[in-house]
Amino acid sequence: MEVDGKSIEFDKDGFMVDPGLWDEAVAAAVAVDEGIDELSETHWKIVKFIREYWKEHDLAPPVRLICKDLGVGVRDIYKLFTSGPARGACRVAGLPKPDGCV
């Protein structure tokens, strides 16, 4: 996929091959693929939180932290990202695919 003249590679699951290339333009492009035409302020809050957490822990944050730290209701996450936090939000945040049953 081409974003702002950069060519970004995705694995067969749609996650970034090189998470280091992530920037806001990439996030917006992946979001469109997720069916989110325009990322709202809450979307951005969640995406950036996931990104920061991942940089620090090399792991996707559990949904509890996203909700508690950002004050988002647990049921709202699934309305914001219909594919859920893992295949939805983590993908927009440019993380590699979390392991396991997701």
Binding site: D13, R64, G84, P85, D99, V102
Partner: protein, 446 residues
């Protein structure tokens, strides 16, 4: 941690430490094949007449009619090796009967087939004109790859997570405890009951509830719903913060030593907590592996009965332990039958009885029950990114089935299927919501 070494030991064939690794892998795979075909296994491998009638029983072949996806052809990647080493004609006239030598490259071909072109859903086997258990043959292929050290990376990482941290998503114990506390708080508000809490590590309760770690890390609504329903039923239950994972990626990988260890931990924890019954959360392969394969791996029956939470929900509603109002789920609901729970696990009716009681407009998809199509995400497929494109492509069959029902909600008693269905809804623009059965029950509570 200690058992981790077991799996490595099993990949070694005594006496050939000096051989280069690929050759050792081939020898180990051949030894595994020989063990698998002892006795009746040989007949499974011999009986296929290559009639090809299994072609369209397979969702992967239906979505992509390539001969490489034809079930009998997939099985023949393994049976051709079997013929070469274990049959009269195959040893003498390999060319005539299509018998092939096992090499490192062929192991990789088998690996592509058994992990990347098959979800072990067993639909071909139950539709075979002769009754050949193709699923079993392909599972032998997985075991051969496992002992040859060729388990796909994503799958292997998940198995390692499970063995090392106790759950497949490497959730630390403190995180588990914080999450259950957080969910208790939310549930208190939702149900308006201050006495409510999610019990953890409590001894002497009736039920040990074992869940899919996904319910802690990414999708807590089903755990919350289960806790809500248990509370409404006045159930005596507990979670364990040490052993809470019902999934078994060792089973998917074909790595029986790991699979056995995972099953042993749950059985042991149930004993330590002194519960009367183990209830498994809505997890297809977890049910199949723990309920049916587990006793074989352990070589003994469990001390307490094991059932799926859908059976418990059915019981609650039938005996009136919880009161439900179907008007609360007014939208059209259909049900996806997880292969491991229904076709291979033998559990098809409780979830239907429950859904008919808690929803206004329940419709079946066709085909259903034992003859249902796999969602495409089974067999550990979701953990193997390298086959992501094939997984989504093979889901077309399921997507068409769902679209034909006109349902708004797809209920499925399997978290693994749920993940695949969520992605199918997105990729095929189905616009459906995926829910666990327990979520719909919670929704309908009076």
């Amino acid at each position: 941690m200690t058992k981790r070494n077991d799996t490595h030991e099993s990949t070694e064939v005594p006496g050939d430490e000096g051989n280069p690794a690929p050759e050792r892998g081939v020898n180990a795979a051949l030894a595994e094949l020989a063990a698998s075909v002892r006795g009746f296994g040989a007949f499974q491998m011999n009986a296929c007449v290559r009639c090809g009638l299994c072609a369209d029983t397979c969702h992967i072949y239906r979505a992509e009619p390539d001969v490489a996806n034809l079930p009998a052809m997939k099985a023949s990647s393994i049976t051709s090796v079997f013929r070469r080493y274990h049959t009269f004609l195959g040893k003498r006239l390999p060319g005539l009967v299509g018998a092939r030598e096992l090499t490192a490259e062929r192991i990789d071909e088998i690996r592509d087939v058994v992990y990347g072109r098959c979800t072990s859903c067993g639909r071909c086997a139950s539709n075979c004109a002769l009754g050949v258990d193709l699923r079993h043959i392909l599972q032998v292929g997985r075991r051969m790859c496992a002992v040859a050290g060729r388990i796909p990376e994503g799958l292997q990482r998940t198995v390692d997570n499970q063995l090392e941290t106790g759950n497949q998503m490497a959730i630390p114990q403190e995180e588990f405890l914080s999450t259950t506390e957080w969910l208790s708080d939310d549930l208190k508000l939702e149900m308006g009951d201050d006495t409510l809490r999610i019990p953890v590590d409590e001894k002497g309760k009736r039920i040990l509830y074992v869940i899919n770690p996904r319910e802690v890390k990414f999708f807590p609504l089903s755990l919350m719903a289960a806790a809500g329903v248990f509370h409404a039923a006045g159930e005596s239950w507990t979670l364990s913060s040490k052993v809470f994972d019902v999934t078994n990626y060792g089973f998917f990988a074909g790595d029986e030593a790991s699979a056995r260890e995972l099953v042993r931990r749950v059985a042991e924890e149930a004993g330590a907590l002194g519960v009367e019954q183990i209830i498994l959360s809505e997890c297809g392969h977890g049910y199949r592996s723990f309920r049916w394969e587990g006793p074989r791996w352990l070589g003994r029956e469990y001390a307490v009965p094991v059932s799926s939470v859908v059976e418990l929900l059915d019981e609650y509603i039938e005996c009136g332990r919880v009161q439900v109002d179907r008007e609360k789920n007014a939208e059209r609901v259909t049900l996806h039958d997880p292969c491991n729970l229904v076709r291979l696990g033998g559990l098809s009716e409780p979830q239907r009885r429950v859904l008919r009681k808690v929803t206004l407009d329940f419709v079946e998809m066709t085909p259903n029950r034992e003859n249902n199509f796999c969602c495409g995400g089974g067999g550990g497929m979701l953990s193997m990114s390298e086959y992501g494109d094939r997984r989504v492509a093979s889901g077309k069959v399921k997507a068409d089935q769902i679209r034909a029902t006109g349902a708004k909600i797809v209920a499925t008693p399997c978290h693994n299927c749920a993940d695949q269905l969520i992605e199918l809804s997105k990729r095929y623009h189905l616009g459906v919501e995926i829910q666990a059965v327990v979520e719909l029950v919670y929704n309908a509570l009076c």
